[in-house]
Symmetry: C2
Subunit: 137 residues, 2 copies
């Protein structure tokens, strides 16, 4: 679990970044962070919590009983914080690369040569591509 993580995993870690939270609260927090777009299923949440705990990115914090219901709190570990930071940087770099490519595309559209590029570019298409410094996702 050092490679790219998918969005649910990422947002779970994000939800736990500021403070420990219990399962159901993570679900709500992730929904909020995603503007209602991502509704974590219990299967996804607890599967991810187990995986991330096994990988040392998070751990059990404490248990509490509130209104007759057990709440199991989790917290991000230092390794989890590091992984989340690295992942955020990866996202930034990927987004920047896409932006650059889209900008160049728009510039080409404005120049009138769109889509079917001329036959002359077949060999020349190995032109310098945006090479991002630290690597992207």
């Amino acid at each position: 679990m050092t490679g790219p993580m998918r969005e649910p995993t990422f947002l779970i870690l994000t939800a736990l970044a500021p403070e420990p939270r219990y399962g159901y609260e993570i679900i709500r927090e992730v929904a909020g962070l995603s503007g209602g777009r991502l509704k974590l299923r219990p299967g996804t949440l607890y599967g991810a919590l187990d995986r991330l705990a096994d990988a040392g990115l998070l751990e059990r914090d404490r248990e509490e009983v509130a209104d007759g219901r057990l709440r199991r709190y989790y917290r991000l570990t230092e390794a989890g914080s590091v992984a989340l930071t690295a992942e955020a940087e990866r996202l930034d770099r990927n987004a920047a690369a896409a932006r650059l490519g889209l900008d160049r595309r728009a510039a080409r559209s404005a120049a009138g040569s769109t889509g079917r590029s001329g036959a002359g570019s077949a060999v020349g298409s190995a032109a310098a591509s945006p090479r991002l410094a630290g690597g992207t996702a």
Copy 2:
């Protein structure tokens, strides 16, 4: 294919954003964009190309024979461009959310209350979470 895409898919679209490219060139471009981190396998590439074409995000551009080798060019469609733009924005929002959470975490660490938060925060943990305007990933 309107939901979150994984990194290989995203970077394939990014490689095709500025101009049409053929399969092997996409592999090289993606490797460059990712700083050598992501080496697309043929299985991944052609599987994704088929999927993305089926979804209308890219299409066949042309074929060429160079040095006795067939090169099959692909180009991003307008829908693909739109999807890539949306995806880049999603990445930005996600990264920003993670940063915010990590900053709050660092602030808590500096305040001396780390990890095991006090018992008093059990009910108050529903405090206002960073609510990003347009929604995140």
